[in-house]
Amino acid sequence: MVDLRVELAGIKLSNPTVLASGILGDNAALLRRAAKTGFGAVTTKSFTIEPREGYATPIIAEVKAGLLNAVGLANPGYKEIKDILPKARVNGVPIIVSLAGSKIDEFVEMAIYAEDWGADIVELNLSCPHVSMMGMDIGHDPAFVANLVGELTGVIETPVFIKIGLTDNYMEVVSRALDKGAAGITAINTVKAMAINIYAKTPVLSHRYGGLSGPAIHPIATRVIYDIYREFKPPIIGIGGVEAWEDAVEFLLAGATAIGIGTAVSKHGLTISKVVSDGIRTYLEREGFESVRDIIGYVHRK
């Protein structure tokens, strides 16, 4: 029997699948359900200091190669972590708390709170492509990210992951964050995009711009994971268009330690985690590996 367990900065996962942030994740019942259904870890929706309504519908546009979303970081505000986390915890499945803010102070306040209420990992959303002054707008600045990570690792002991998107300088951002003590990298977030309805003659999303996810971004994510592993070999949660176990294996070989799943939850339901981890198991058996850890970053060994 092959071993599917992986560790993310000391946090033990029974298998490498992770529910990606923003997918069903601002509600304790849903996180709990995801954890029970087989995810190795679950990530909360990104919390902000104040509750956010999010954007008006349409917040979703289906496109040929994936999905656009502009949810607008809808969340009940970080104070809810206190109610959500204890209820969400089940079977020892680790909970990754995602945070989004525009200032270092905000992140510090939220991170301490998340740690107090039991977050296993704090993930900094530095890459949401559709909310101004947050996410991508701050995450592409290496100096800001370095300061932010430095501050946070000074005040909390919980491992800090930064979640990056597709920018020109992600390698510099990652390098600076790791230098300052980031425990790992989550890559990638959605890519800024737009869909126009040709009969309505207007962008579909109420926010006009949205983040592209799904199969469309999978080869881009593979590249980013490959780059980061090659250079820094940190723990990586690889995310982007994973909708079958083969996609997950591709990320593992490129260097991901764990595999985030988002959009595919809509197509296949939460059981996608089981399908993916079973597929990884069969692959490992057939290819003669004893542990999933044996294939992490494998393509770099050749």
Binding site: L24, L30, P58, A200, T202
Partner: protein, 251 residues
């Protein structure tokens, strides 16, 4: 492209705030009663609606004007465009054998009358009960009768049919049925559920929550403490599923 473009073919005003729009789509759509469409009017929001009738490329939407988008919807004219995606979610299972009690409250009668069409096609026995504030807001009693069903109107003000709440009336007759299909305001649904539990009658009830994505990804439509999703696991839930839930929010 993800949206289908439809044209309004006809508007029937039940009241000034409650209308049925017949939509013609370019292609056929296969919708199970109880499933919903995400309906978008550019410039307004996109909202979930459960058709009150559908056949091939024709869909009928019965809409109550409660806010900006629904009010805009009921002001549409023949020829206007409307954008839909779906159908999404799980509808009513109409294949179960037995005698059906159909209970629709307000615009919740929409998926119920559509179920009546399908049930009468399948040759299943069914009685249609509709609850409304007054006779003016009554929706599909005539239609149900044309389908050959016994159809009972229950009005709160007694302006027609039986006076009272639909749930009180149903309490009296539920024992005669094997299965109840219900859609309407949540307090009505909770009462129906409790009734069915007590009387041992099977049921399938359609619930509402704020549906934003419609595809089981955003989490906004969560129902109850087991994390059921109205848009993905529902909107129609069967008795077993519902018995698992604690409905503190409403009862």
């Amino acid at each position: 492209m993800s949206y289908r473009v439809g044209r309004v073919k006809g508007v029937y005003a039940h009241t000034s705030l409650l209308k049925s729009l017949t939509i013609e789509l370019e292609d056929d759509l296969n919708i199970i009663p109880g499933q919903f469409l995400m309906v978008w009017l550019p410039g307004y929001e996109e909202i979930p609606l459960s058709p009150s009738y559908a056949d091939q490329n024709i869909v009928r939407l019965t809409v109550k004007g409660v806010g900006e988008t629904t009010k805009r919807l009921i002001s549409l004219d023949t020829g206007d465009r409307i954008y839909v995606r779906g159908p999404y979610g799980r509808g009513f299972d109409l294949d179960k054998p037995g005698k059906y009690l159909l209970a629709g409250g307000g615009y919740g009668a929409a998926p119920i009358i559509y179920s009546a069409y399908k049930l009468s096609k399948l040759g299943n026995q069914a009685v249609y009960v509709e609850g409304a504030k007054s006779i003016k807001e009554q929706l599909f009693i005539d239609e149900a009768r044309k389908l050959g069903l016994e159809a009972i109107l229950v009005t709160e003000d007694g302006s027609s049919g039986i006076k009272g709440l639909i749930t009180d009336y149903i309490k009296q007759i539920i024992g005669e049925f094997d299965i109840l299909l219900g859609c309407g305001p949540e307090p009505m649904l909770i009462k129906l559920l409790n009734m069915c539990i007590e009387s041992g009658v099977d049921c399938q009830l359609s619930f509402e929550r704020v549906v934003k994505c419609g595809i089981g990804i955003c989490g906004s439509c969560v129902l109850g403490d087991r994390g059921l999703l109205v848009c993905y696991d529902g909107p129609v839930f069967n008795k077993e599923r519902l018995m698992d839930l604690s409905f503190k929010e409403v009862v």
